[in-house]
């Protein structure tokens, strides 16, 4: 079966973000960018399913600027077969991405879309669910375990209070949580090989999808700073301060 894995180019998770002084957004100039960590987990899971012989082809798709090609190359170096870049220089909201992915699904006819549960920039946690809705497919979000059997997938999900296992009929959308797997590093030979793998470059217009943002960002600000704290000398000091100063004991 064929699997489609959407990946997003985001600010590297180790970078401390800075808000622009004019409050128009976060400063992304000259900042290290990487593949969204949850998407790496999705690529890894797809590659593992291929290694098990369950999956025959992995198509990676990204919506973003020309540089998102690098993100696709990373996925190709991890073991994906080919890529599709839908190039857009403006930020596309989850609904727009879901509509584009729906069009790619119509073209590629995958049995599963495997993707990250959220991107660490927008923190929306919406695209996978939206795609499942648009396709009228079942969804299994926050997956920590995926087991394929015939035309069904048994997915263990991380929910508040514990774990839940659902069996979804394929085709389905599965979104990955952190504990699904440990993504591999791409080896140098595989990085070289990935350069020869094909990437199709398209535009939102090729799919007839309007990606105009529906939400208007009025401003982006720094979160409220906490007041500098004080050091305590010992247990008695701490308990006294919590009781008398802070009033929380």
């Amino acid at each position: 079966m064929k699997v489609l894995v959407p990946v997003k180019r985001v600010i590297d998770f180790n970078v401390k973000v800075r808000v622009k002084p004019d409050q128009s957004g976060v400063d992304l100039a000259n900042v290290k960018m990487s593949m969204n960590p949850f998407d790496e987990i999705a690529v890894e899971e797809a590659v593992r399913l291929k290694e098990k012989g369950v999956v025959s082809e992995i198509v990676v798709v990204s919506v973003g600027p020309a540089q998102a090609q690098e993100t696709i190359r990373t996925a190709l170096a991890m073991g994906a077969d080919r890529g599709v870049l839908i190039q857009s220089d403006q930020d596309v909201e989850p609904l727009g991405v879901a509509k584009l992915l729906k069009a790619v699904v119509a073209e590629e006819a995958p049995q599963m879309v495997l993707m990250g549960k959220q991107a660490i920039d927008g923190d929306n946690n919406a695209t996978g669910q939206m795609l499942a809705a648009l396709l009228d497919w079942p969804q299994a979000t926050f997956a920590s375990k995926v087991e394929m059997s015939g035309d069904k997938a048994a997915v263990t999900r991380e929910i508040d209070g514990g774990l839940q296992t659902l069996s979804v009929s394929l085709p389905a959308v599965v979104t990955t949580d952190l504990r699904l797997n440990e993504p591999r590093y791409a080896s140098l030979p595989n990085i070289m090989k990935a350069k020869k793998k094909p990437i199709d470059v398209k535009s939102p217009a090729d799919y007839g999808v309007d990606v105009t943002p529906r939400l208007k960002v009025l401003k982006v600000t720094e979160p409220a700073k906490r007041q500098a704290g004080i050091k305590v000398e010992g247990a008695a000091d701490l308990v006294a301060k919590l009781r008398n100063e802070a009033g929380v004991l």
Partner: protein
Amino acid sequence: MAVLVIADHDNAHVRDTTHKTVTAAKALSNDVDVLILGQGAEAAAAQAAKIDGVRKVLVAESPALGKMIAEAVEAAVVPMMGGYDAVLTPATTAGKNFAPRVAAKLDVSQISDIVQVVDGTTFVRPIYAGNAMETVQSNEAKKVITVRTTAFKAAGEGGSAPVEKLAGGESAPKTAFVGEEMVKSDRPELGAAKIIVSGGRAMGSAEEFNKVLEPLADKLGAAVGASRAAVDAGYAPNDYQVGQTGKVVAPSLYIAIGISGAIQHLAGMKDSKVIVAINKDADAPIFQIADYGWVTDYKTAVPALMDELTKLGK
């Protein structure tokens, strides 16, 4: 303008997160209805009816809704949206699962994880793991919103809204529920606890984690939390995790023990009223946001703290 709140409940009880979401909803409209999706949820419905400011409570039940299967929730909610201008639900794992599905069916963008309602169309939400706050305006015909409940006060009790049963709940033909494995705990729920005692990788093992944190949590009537490092190392179960990828909490008192304070952890707890950090590394980032920092080894600090609490009669 009428607003629908999809309740967070376990059929027997309505969770505090629902009360908080009602507060956010009331900032949008005076006409707030609460929808209970579940199975055998009479008790939860009766409790929801008592939330102050609720116009009416609607109840839809089916086995699939009992497990909050996203397709069933979508099928139940979307047809109702003709009568509402907005739908709000707490940003729990269940809410995050079904709300975008509803939004896509309505062809609207979702506004995720709001922490403030500025006015009927404008909302504030954290992005980049809480390192920036985004103010967004939505002119969508229908608004689908998930609410970061720690940012809102709980609506009071004292209402007496009528409860209305909706006909035949929805099924989810493409999804089957297989099983559940819930973590059993007698302690307060992490999201609702007034005090949280949280441990990190410094604990070194699951035995040490429990040995150090449980007695202290019991003494304080606190919930136990963990950093992602502690969870990934297997010292604590997944749902103890506080952070961007776990739970977002805002208790009165958060005690971080052996936690360095990575960005992803801070995103989950930096809105706590008072933060205490116990860490032997004086340069740990956690000290930059802690109200009270104690540079010491937790191995001696925690027993000393226990003794002091005993003196207070805790």
